[in-house]
Symmetry: C2
Subunit: 219 residues, 2 copies
């Protein structure tokens, strides 16, 4: 019984990490599709979303099963509750990747807005935050989780730069209003991806240290 | 023991509804502040946010306590897990209200973009969704919850109209680019508020019917 339970916890974690790798790939490919005007790649991201949704429901079923059948110790309870929240964050990262892919498909129909300076930097920062938040989970690494939380402000700063850059283009040249608007939406999506990575990092700290560091109590 | 437990469930629900009423009021006041260029009202919304955050942590503590101390029946377990998710949605509705309040404070420094046609309609629709999702929770009313889910598409449609309207202004007159951009951000915030209300409605169905209707399985 004991062993069986440990094994279920381990399986749950593995499924969550698998889902994390799908979400991470979706983000990377959607941004690549946008920057390279690659419609087929964007289409691929959109087609993969149902698999991520399916996995979210499966992981949530495991959470309910575990809570219903086991009287958990405090530390295991924290872990299972955090899994449920991280699960929701990963699913929403997948949603944001789909939004970026949709923008990528619309933006190719407009004249290209050059140069994309801060958007690639912003996307690299957001992708790194997702990857590091999952690495922090695997290694129960509080320092790495804190590092993710601190980088959220940098992404917000890059977002403001992207906005300023694009609004200036719009004022100078009214024909770029539509494509520049799509890039504003993409910057909003990347901002939310970074927010979800921050949530995951907060949950890693909750799992490892047993402290609730939401609302920046840890900063 | 039995009675004590029932009482705790009831208290948890009351705290959640109180939090819901704070979030609902924050949304209403932030939109009002924007439409009436009322900076003091916007400031008030921003100052009330810590109270909502505090309440989220308190409710989550109750959730953990209840799961740690009680072996719950399936229906009570569903309720407690849904409370934890609804709690997170309400806190995020509060965050969005703060974003709208911040836009309201910036937008007063620019020339007024007239007329706001679809934005007030969109905000009324989003506010109604929040209110109805909470009413559906109070009354365990599945039909009302379904009604909320169906209206999410209407809000997305209004958002697209708001975008089109504002982008057209921007193309015609480059001096309105900045204030019109603020209103685009507000439309995005309202869209997310409607998304959170939809999540709450889905959780009401999960509580009452025991079915997971996320990813629109119920539609």
């Amino acid at each position: 019984m004991e062993r069986h339970f440990e094994q279920e916890l381990e399986e749950m974690k593995e499924r969550l990490l698998w889902m994390g790798s799908l979400a991470e790939r979706a983000v990377h490919q959607s941004v690549q599709a946008l920057l390279e005007s690659n419609e087929a790649l964007a289409q691929g991201v959109i087609e993969e979303e149902p698999a991520i949704n399916q996995m979210q429901m499966e992981i949530d079923d495991r959470v309910v099963q575990m809570l219903a059948l086991q009287q958990l110790m405090a530390s295991d309870l924290r872990f299972v509750l955090a899994v449920s929240r991280i699960n929701a964050d990963l699913e929403r990262i997948g949603d944001q990747a789909v939004n970026i892919a949709q923008s990528a498909m619309r933006v190719v129909r407009h004249p290209r807005v050059n140069p994309y300076i801060d958007l690639p930097r912003m996307s690299r920062a957001a992708e790194e935050m997702v990857r590091d938040s999952l690495n922090a989970l695997v290694n129960k690494d509080i320092e790495m989780a804190r590092g993710v939380m601190l980088r959220d402000d940098q992404v917000d700063h890059l977002r403001d730069q992207v906005f300023r850059e694009l609004l200036t283009y719009m004022m100078e040249n009214s024909t770029v209003v539509f494509p520049a608007f799509e890039l504003i939406l993409v910057a909003k999506n990347l901002e939310r991806i970074a927010d979800h990575a921050t949530n995951i990092a907060e949950d890693v700290i909750y799992i490892v240290a047993g402290r609730d560091v939401r609302h920046h109590a840890a900063k």
